[in-house]
């Protein structure tokens, strides 16, 4: 237990170190505007992937409506800053709360469904959210909500990401998190062990939706606009791809996959027609050679490196 505290402090120090490094590189102009944009996108995508992983990877509830919650966060926070003139932090929190409330409201009825049925229901609900927004003139309708100030910068994105990762990591490594994982593993057994499965499914769904809302708020305040076309089900699939590629039930996997896919997207920015081809090829290759995703349900840690190098004692790298 004490080891965990030490590890957490180390992790925190490492992330601050990483932040300082990137900031220095940005200041001296080593990282240009294009890659700065992609760094922000990476942070946003990590938030999305890790939060969806909580729902799909850890709790085992197949959801493809994540872009819908992102849209709610994006619009709600934009309304707060543009229409109400409130500070950015309040707007982000409002976006998260709105997405969480919607996640809860959607979760309670739909999480009775299982597997493919749930996937289809969430896919549909994600689209319903988008089309509803599309038809609200107050937020700009089909032309989107314009004139959003650019409040998001790398600092905001990075710390929101770090918060998300720490939040979800800590949640998963608690008894409540184990209750969620047990639902994925065997719902009937989980129920027989005294776990209120419905409650924990809804909890996971709500937390996941809240962080998607945060990501949406950061997104709209970086690109000056909240547009319904940014939140189609293709976006949901993008996020799902990251989760599957990284490994269902691996936070570090989601982070790696989010970085990898954002880089690929950026590198292929000049050939947009090839992007989807590369994406699908990547997925096909992965599904053939590593159906459990890059990391499976394991976490990347120094212990794993130790094992790869042949030194360290074995033992599960998971749950730390």
């Amino acid at each position: 237990m004490k080891g965990n505290v030490k590890q957490d402090i180390l992790r925190l120090a490492a992330s601050i170190g990483l932040y300082v490094l990137v900031m220095v590189l940005l200041e001296v102009g080593f990282i240009g505007a294009f890659w700065e944009l992609n760094l922000v996108l990476i942070c946003i995508n990590i938030i999305l992937a890790v939060s969806l992983n909580l729902i799909t990877g850890f709790t085992g509830q197949f959801s493809i409506g994540h872009a819908g919650f992102m849209a709610v966060g994006a619009y709600m926070s934009a309304v707060f800053t543009v229409k109400l003139g409130l500070p950015f932090i309040v707007a982000i929190i409002a976006g998260a709360i709105a997405a969480a409330i919607l996640g809860f409201a959607i979760g309670v009825p739909t999480l009775r469904l299982k597997g493919d049925y749930l996937a289809i229901a969430t896919l549909g609900l994600g689209e319903i959210i988008r089309i509803t927004i599309l038809n609200i003139p107050y937020v700009g309708g089909a032309s989107g909500l314009m004139g959003i100030p650019r409040f998001t910068n790398f600092t905001w994105a990075f710390f929101a990401m770090a918060l998300t990762v720490f939040f979800i990591k800590n949640f998963i490594n608690s008894s409540h998190g184990r209750a969620c994982i047990s639902i994925r593993e065997n719902e009937i057994a989980a129920e027989a062990m005294g776990i209120d499965t419905t409650k924990y499914k809804v909890v996971a769904f709500t937390i996941g939706a809240a962080f998607a809302g945060v990501a949406g708020g950061l997104f709209s305040h970086y690109f000056y606009i909240a547009h319904p076309a940014s939140f189609t089900f293709m976006k949901s699939f993008d996020i799902l791809t990251m989760v599957v590629l990284g490994g269902m039930g691996s936070i570090t996997g989601s982070i790696t996959a989010a970085i990898l896919l954002t880089f690929i997207s950026a590198a292929l920015a000049s050939y947009p027609e090839w992007r989807m081809v590369v994406y699908s090829l990547l997925l096909i290759i992965l599904m053939i050679y590593r159906p459990q995703g890059l990391f499976g349900n394991k976490e990347l840690s120094l212990k794993v490196f130790g094992r790869i190098l042949g030194g360290g004692k074995s033992g599960s790298a998971q749950h730390k």
């Binding site: 490594n173 057994a189 005294g194």
Partner: protein
């Protein structure tokens, strides 16, 4: 006052009476067997007791309170834990985590405490780990703690399932065919273990079993179920000589 009191319990699936007029009384500390031919309704009876199915009619009281209308997790929280006929472990988790999950509903720290790592989190996590290890120790699984559950040999998976059920700290333990798929030697060990659990942990146990040597060897009282209703009950010697039981198992004598 009986610990578990079931009277006139019935379950119908459409026109099929899976269990009808099922009566059972279990006192604290007893070790009871429930036997019957295939399809007699034994597992259905278990599922009724644990809230998986809702009975069509009848009464069930556990420790003085009705079990009717409770969901499976609520039944477990009341103090009835079960194992399954086909093993249902958390297959991809470690042995230790399997047991830890069973402690979940005893945990008092909230979600906020776990996310912020404040308050009771560390103390309780340590407690859970300690208790889970003790539980594994009792079942001689402690050296397997980091193994993934699905990689254990069959007999140990069965043992882990019982360990997990006990980790929920029940008063009544329901075992659904614990010896299924075991060889005679493993069955014998299991028999010893069940007896030991009852004596050491002061538990009440109800088990469904096909293996007659196990049932006759370990149970104090036996209920026999056929076509959904109890046809006989008594101690092993009485059951062995009961003509209705012999008929149910072997068929009628040819006249």
């Amino acid at each position: 006052m009986a610990l578990l009191n079931i009277s006139k319990l019935s379950k119908e699936f459409g026109g099929l009476k899976a269990v009808s007029n099922f009566n059972m009384e279990i006192n604290e500390g007893e070790l009871i067997g429930l036997i019957g031919p295939n399809g007699a309704g034994k597992t259905t009876a278990f599922n009724l007791m644990t809230g998986v199915y809702e009975p069509t009619s009848g009464e069930m009281d556990f420790a003085g309170k009705s079990l009717l209308g409770l969901k499976p997790y609520q039944v477990t929280q009341r103090g009835i834990a079960r194992t399954f006929q086909n093993i249902r472990l958390f297959a991809d988790l470690s042995v230790l985590d399997n047991v830890k999950i069973a402690y979940h509903f005893h945990v008092k720290y909230g979600m906020l405490e776990s996310v912020l790592r404040i308050g009771r989190y560390y103390a309780e996590e340590e407690e859970i780990e300690k208790k889970a290890l003790e539980c594994l120790n009792l079942f001689k699984l402690a050296d397997r703690r980091d193994e993934i559950a699905k990689n254990l040999p069959y007999g140990e998976q069965r043992r882990l399932e019982i360990a997990r059920a006990l980790a929920a700290q029940p008063q009544l333990l329901l075992l659904d065919e614990p010896a299924a798929g075991m060889n005679p030697q493993e069955t014998h060990q299991l028999m010893e273990m069940i007896r030991w659990i009852r004596d050491e942990l002061k538990l009440t146990i109800l088990l469904i079993e096909h293996d007659m040597s196990l049932v006759m060897g370990v149970c104090e009282r036996i209920y026999v179920l056929d076509y959904g209703s109890i046809i006989a009950q008594g101690n092993p010697a009485e059951i062995r000589n009961n003509p209705r039981v012999i008929e149910a198992y072997l068929g009628e004598e040819v006249h």
